[in-house]
Symmetry: C2
Amino acid sequence: MLAARILEVARDSFAQNGWAGTTVRGVAREAGVDPALVYHYFATKDGLLDAATTPPPAFLQGVAATWAGPVPELGASLVETTLRNWDDPELGSAIRAILLIAAHHGPTRERLVGIVRGGLMGPATVGADETERERRAGLVATQLIGLAFMRSIWRVEPVASMTVAELVAAVGPTVQRYVEGEIA
Amino acid sequence: MLAARILEVARDSFAQNGWAGTTVRGVAREAGVDPALVYHYFATKDGLLDAATTPPPAFLQGVAATWAGPVPELGASLVETTLRNWDDPELGSAIRAILLIAAHHGPTRERLVGIVRGGLMGPATVGADETERERRAGLVATQLIGLAFMRSIWRVEPVASMTVAELVAAVGPTVQRYVEGEIA
């Protein structure tokens, strides 16, 4: 699909060249389409950025479905969902682009904070009250985000080469403790 | 000190505008100095980037000293050192700049991987052999890096507002388990 190809090129360009360094014309050229088609799909450069930094619905749905699973398995299932999302070529590259663009684009960083709080921490139903729920979900996020950076963005060994099963065994208990263990 | 002020401006500029969008002239202007002075201190734009993405020695020394401390306290001490480093205005902004520049500059990402593997994981002496040592240190890094992103780069609540003592209590046991607990 042409829109998907344009979006993929746009994500790379915004991530590598920033907002100012990205042009609709340049994205169109690299995607092998007419600039008019980019405008047709995304209206403006802002529209293109907006689409490029919107997480794929499948990503957020997968996270929400995982949080809705059995509490005693959340540690393992959240780690596994995170790794599968990042390993998926399409989902992984879309999320990666959001994190990279957020590094040098303030509005995207705000959007990213919204995604972390709303999409990753929001569906959590753990804890005795809202304060505890947010704190537990936030701690879970610290671990899963650091894992994603080490393994899928910076590819730091040996973490980058550990299997999903190894990481579930190593990191799952951390997340389980944040979900229901002693944290204070 | 003028060199420090130039470096601070350069870090911001490389992080926000990228390699291509940063000029020695622009950095000099913003730092309120003559471009000749920038060349005097850093020789070239590459020299300026190199200095801007070199972690402050105090940062790496602090991490190494912490790893050399008593093993039963490593969980708490590593979390505390990480938070203190990030909360330090000078150290925190220097490390933050390296992570942000790495988002869109390949060579800086390679340098960052070197810092994580050499400076953060390197001084670890945990585990029964080198494979286990690297794996444990790598897992420690996943947690500490995710904590830094949530708290100091993206400032996601409620993690961003938790005190050092609260985070040591919550996250310390995770790190302690990676240091000497069951991870497989």
